[in-house]
Symmetry: none
Subunit: 246 residues, 2 copies
DNA sequence: GGTAATTTGTCCGTATGTATA
DNA sequence: ATATACATACGGACAAATTAC
């Protein structure tokens, strides 16, 4: 049960009791809740306490109060309007902060079948490819291997990457004035490639997390594709979704 | 404009004035706001009115109050102004739709050190554990192994799981009237456990994607933890983030 | 290191406003 | 017109715990 801890403030105890009554159908959806005055008497508390309790239930969208008409038990919102969730971009770039990027390769190349499969880009197109290991200050080994594939229209940012910290797409936005409006992310579990295993100092055949992000401009054009390969021992992808008003 | 309509309630006028002072730097980020008592005197209103005003500013994450230490002006989270990203809950539950859940185990258990590590729950607590394989119509093999760990306060939903399709947390919301307001998700790459490998019909030692989701109520209480283990060959985690106005 | 002042959180009783049924 | 019921508002009080002395 939802224990009613005696130590909890009164308004929480009242909120709990009313919540229970609502889910038990004592106050069915669509019905009026008793007036605040009546609830004061029932729980032997002041109007302040009742109103704090009702405020909690309102925040949970269990009830809806309107002046002079009373307080209504409302149906739970349907799944469609159910939830919009926000993820902070911090999560998206968390791994990048404070990490140094040691460039390993930086050249134009043509997408072949293998790369097309890994990046989702069309075979035959020319893209700027930049690869390197991401190093955290003080740590002995790189945290991940990163590949950037940058649309040739924005290839000029390639020269800036050496001195740049953090995510690359703001560079594109600054240099070309094109906004990145959509990021598509795919995460897969793979086995560590043997050539990377050595450089990352893990055993080949261990698990690795492969993150692929595709950055699209408002035109729907793909500006950049990034692939990060993390040894599973050093990385968990983490994010928090919070429900916002709908 | 933020016109101070004389008809507005006093607490809104106070909130507006304080908001203006904060953006004007009169109360810089990191500084203490005057005490509630001081604000009562400044605006010649009661403490009730000041507290209602501060409540509005808190809801906007402009300030943060802590008992006995006062009220602090907090920095606007870079994330909220920078980019907020929307992910539909469809993505979150996409995997579940159309899949049948074959329950394999359903019992109360005590969290031991190993489970604590895997779930993030405290050692020693009792949780309802439900495990099973998720099966898609027509496919020969299960798509993943799913473990639910459900707060004993909500363990009553366990009986409904047999006949239930789709995500579990709406059940909790309906039965107990508690909203899930936050979902934390962690994704890691692991090697397939041998006992699961047989049931999922993949080789042991292949890569697997482990998704852990923690569902929190508005009280900050953890209602449920879900762990999904997907063979890498059958699953990529995919989502799209769209930038919205800050 | 104990003590007093401070500050938010909680709670009460009371009163007025306001628009509806 | 009147009673109703939520919204707003005041003043007073104690609790708990951090902070300063």
């Amino acid at each position: 049960m939802t224990e009613a801890r005696a130590t909890d403030p009164r308004y929480l105890q009242v909120a709990r009791a009313l919540r229970q009554d609502i889910v038990d159908g004592i106050y069915p959806v669509g019905s009026q809740l008793p007036t605040e005055h009546a609830l004061c008497e029932r729980f032997s508390v002041s109007r302040y306490t009742v109103r704090e309790a009702l405020r909690r239930l309102r925040e949970d969208h269990l009830i809806s109060s309107r002046p002079r008409t009373g307080t209504l038990v409302v149906p739970r919102t349907s799944t469609s309007s159910y939830a919009q969730d926000v993820m902070s971009i911090d999560d998206l770039m968390a791994f990048a902060t404070g990490a140094r990027f040691a460039i390993h390769a930086n050249k134009m190349l043509t997408i072949d079948a293998d790369l097309a499969d890994r990046t989702g880009l069309p075979v035959g197109e020319e893209w700027l490819a930049v690869g390197g290991f991401r190093q955290v200050e003080g740590a002995p080994n790189p945290v991940c291997f990163t590949e950037y594939y940058i649309n040739r229209a924005f290839a000029a940012v390639g020269r800036l990457l050496q001195r740049h910290h953090g995510p690359v797409f703001p560079l594109i936005e600054d240099m070309f004035g094109r906004s990145i409006v959509e990021v598509h992310q795919e995460i897969a579990a793979v086995l560590m490639r043997s050539d990377l295993a050595a450089r990352l100092d893990v055993d080949p055949g261990t698990a690795a997390l492969e993150l692929r992000r595709t950055y699209k401009t408002s035109d729907g054009e793909i500006a950049q594709v990034t692939i990060n390969t993390h040894p599973s021992s050093r990385y968990r992808h983490s994010m928090t979704l919070r429900r916002v008003e709908g």
